[in-house]
Amino acid sequence: MKILYFAWLRERLNRGEETIDPPADIATVSDLMDWLAASDEGIDLVFENRDLIRVAVDDELVEHDETIAGAETVAFFPPMTGG
């Protein structure tokens, strides 16, 4: 599974993407965030305020309770500020 980070998450983590292989019991975005945070101190810090983290699964904006079954790409980023 490919993980993408954008904006200040990318800067603070010093990377824009990584490939991971989460265990089978990681079912939702929220589970994935717990698992990533537990495995990496830097991620734990950027995920500190979960309400500020937006998530896209395979390029679609989703809520944190969304399933990640079959997902190829999960992206994490702050609230968007385009326009």
């Binding site: 993408l4 954008f6 904006a7 200040w8 990318r10 896209a56 390029d59 679609e60 904006l61 992206a75 980023f77 702050p78 609230p79 968007m80 500020t81 385009g82 326009g83």
Partner: protein
């Protein structure tokens, strides 16, 4: 007809408008919105860096454009959004809507901008006084988007 363009290159707002208005199929109204890099006295900036998530931006703006075409019965809609390094007074975004009567074009362009601000994957970083800062999301942008919910 919907056109969505993401580009690093600067565009000319007037040229884009004239192209959009060509062969307009007898439409009665066109609304054009151009968003510019703001740099006001007291809040001057040197540059704006626009980061984006290319695959998702294209998909999100296409889906948003389709929704706007359908909801407001637009005859034509074009969304142009830049990314990369931008300078004050340069255009960032242009939304152009064509319709039979004016209200649909006004509402369609307004709707696209309100939803784009909060739901399209772009992030602004400003350079001011030699210091870089990520621009924070504004709660009024959420209100502006939510008023279109029905």
């Amino acid at each position: 007809m919907l056109t969505v363009r993401l580009q690093a290159e600067i565009f000319d707002a007037g040229t884009e408008t004239n192209t959009f208005l060509r062969d307009c199929g007898g439409a009665g109204a066109a609304v054009t919105f151009t968003g510019l890099v703001r740099s006001l006295p007291g809040q001057a900036i040197e540059a704006l860096e626009l980061e984006h998530y290319p695959a998702m931006a294209q998909k999100a703006l296409t889906a948003l454009g389709e929704k706007a075409m359908d909801r407001f019965g637009l005859m034509r809609l074009t969304i142009i959004h830049r990314f990369g390094r931008l300078l004050p007074e340069e255009p960032i975004v242009q939304v152009m809507a064509l319709s039979a009567h004016r209200q649909a074009a006004f509402d369609g362009a307004n709707f696209v901008m309100d939803v784009l601000k909060t739901d399209a994957p772009f992030w602004k970083k400003e350079t001011a006084g030699g210091k870089e800062d990520w621009v924070g999301a504004k709660s009024e942008d959420d209100f502006a988007r939510d008023r279109w919910q029905k």
